[in-house]
Amino acid sequence: MISGAMLAEAWRAMGANRMRTALTMLGMVIGVAAVVLMMAIGQGAQDDVKASIATMGSNLFIVLSGSTTSGGVRMGGGAAPTLTVADGEAIAELPGITAVAPQHMGTAQLVYGPNNWSTTVFGTTPNYVDLRSWPLASGAPFTDSDVRSATRVALIGQTIVDNLFDSDNPVGKTIRIKQNPFVVVGVLASKGQSLDGRDQDDVVLVPWTTAQRKLFGTPFPGAVRSLMVQAASTEMMPKLQDSMTELLRQRHHLRPDADLDFSVRNLTAVASSMAETTRVMSLLLGAIASVSLLVGGIGIMNIMLVSVTERTREIGIRIAIGAKPREIRQQFLLEAIIMSCAGCLIGVLVGVGCAMLTHAMSQASVVITGSSIVLAFVVAAVVGIFFGFYPANKAAKMEPISALHYE
């Protein structure tokens, strides 16, 4: 049978009962629109979480020094001078560790010209920016030699730039941190909010030696509150956590039954559990939407069965004038596929429209991926074939005599 003629036949059959065809397609439209919309919302949520995780840096541990007690007052984690930069250097020797950066932080007042601002100052090493995958917007990071000689240089975050510098280029300017003059050597690129909502750009980085000797002072030079440690891969992290703990236990000469005077935390665990949660959520959304697609498919089967029964006599005539069972089957199958694919096309448009509306009304991230549209089309075609096949086969298997005499 010529396909052009077959398409014309399908068109005529669907046009004969426009209202019914439209309602049948509506089931498909709603199903596909739901799938596209839900996948867009799910993907949007996943992308949001991924972006937040990426700003933190990947495969990170944080090692905190232990607490101390001063006159009966316990000082909390990070207060005891047990963790040293030398510990960090030893950890960096472990296989599978790619970088270690100490963090010695404090709050300080910044002044530039008429402006001033209070922020957190981190004393660290140059590789801190690599570890946090934090590119520079301009300038260059301070160097290892700056760390050795405790130079007064600083990298500043975007929030500092906004609050201290009106329109000047900050690089090369001198700011005062706790009255000490520091040369701004670079500006950090903006990272935005962290997962817990802190402004990550409200920060100043200086060499840790400078922080200890010239800004905050410390009774224990070389001791830091925390170390940031990066592993080569996520898979190695549980094992590395154990070997780091063992290494520090030896270095701190702790007896086997003694409490640890430090703690090691895996930052990735939190992030990956959040990512997993959103992934499951979007899967769930997709699954619920798929049910409506299935219902749409069953609607098509229902109408095709009615159509086959209604056109029993027509089928008989067609067989009598030479149609083969295969050609009868193809004709009904084509009708089902056209309905489901047309419904799918409209459904994709409706779904994309709804996604944009959702975005406009709630500011929620929606990401319409090509793959979700392709998936919707493939599923619609499969649904059309699957649910169209039974009615089409029923038509093809009709006995010509009984079909001709059917009233």
Binding site: A5, R12, A16, I317, A320, I321, P325, P400
Partner: protein
């Protein structure tokens, strides 16, 4: 072995239906040969087996036993697709209820067999217009079947049967739904077609209609009880 000229050759053909009360024979040992160019009327009361016989001749139903050759082909050995091809090539059907498809114009209705024969569109329309002209409906090519009279609808059905240039037309009570004047016109058309060399097998209840044929086959209780030329004087 069948003679090459016999269009239809049927030998010891039996058909029985399986019912709850056991097998029920409808056709019992039918023998019939129809040569090319004949015009035969098949008569008989309801339940005599003539409709079943026509369905088997039209390759729409299968015999229980016996042999049937159509145009030299042993129909018993053909599968459902081969029978469809044979129908398409040799037979044109005309039904009592006209059986045109609604929502299609006359040209498309008449051209439908050609769709299944794989004929291209412009050729289909040309041939449909030609046969519609032949049955006197050349002015109604784009009309719809529900806008024309019963007699005209039957002419369209005949045109549809003719469009494949069949060698045999099977007409099942073609005048059953028509008044006597229109019936005469339709029968005149059949006679004209028969004059052009097409073999016609026609089932009817009415002696007046059968009188247009040249041969009369009478069925009773699943057997052929009479087979001979139509005599116009004596009532059949």
């Amino acid at each position: 072995m069948p003679e090459p000229t016999a269009l239809i050759r049927i030998e010891r053909l039996c058909k029985q239906y399986e019912t709850a009360a056991g097998p029920f024979p409808v056709l019992k040992e039918i023998n019939l040969t129809v040569q090319t160019g004949e015009f035969a009327a098949v008569m008989g009361p309801s339940g005599s087996g003539k409709s079943t016989f026509m369905n088997i001749v039209g390759c729409l139903d299968r015999q229980t036993s016996g042999d049937y050759w159509l145009d030299g082909e042993d129909v018993r050995g053909l599968d459902v697709n081969q029978r469809a091809d044979l129908r398409k090539r040799v037979i044109g059907f005309v039904f009592q209820g006209f059986n045109l498809l609604p929502r299609m114009n006359l040209t498309d209705n008449v051209a439908l067999p050609l769709v299944y024969a794989g004929v291209p569109r412009h050729e289909r329309e040309r041939r449909a217009a030609e046969v519609l002209g032949r049955v006197g409906l050349g002015a109604y090519l784009k009309s719809h079947s529900n806008t024309i009279s019963g007699g005209q609808q039957q002419r369209v059905a005949i045109a549809r049967a003719l469009v494949n240039q069949p060698r045999l037309i099977l007409a099942d009570e073609p005048t059953g739904n028509l008044d006597s004047r229109t019936s005469e016109e339709i029968m005149a058309l059949f006679r004209e077609l028969n004059g052009g060399g097409i073999t016609i097998l026609l089932v009817t209840h009415e002696p007046d209609i059968a009188a247009h044929a040249r041969r009369l086959v009478r069925f009773l209780d699943g057997r052929i009880v009479h087979d001979g030329p139509v005599t116009h004087q004596e009532p059949p």
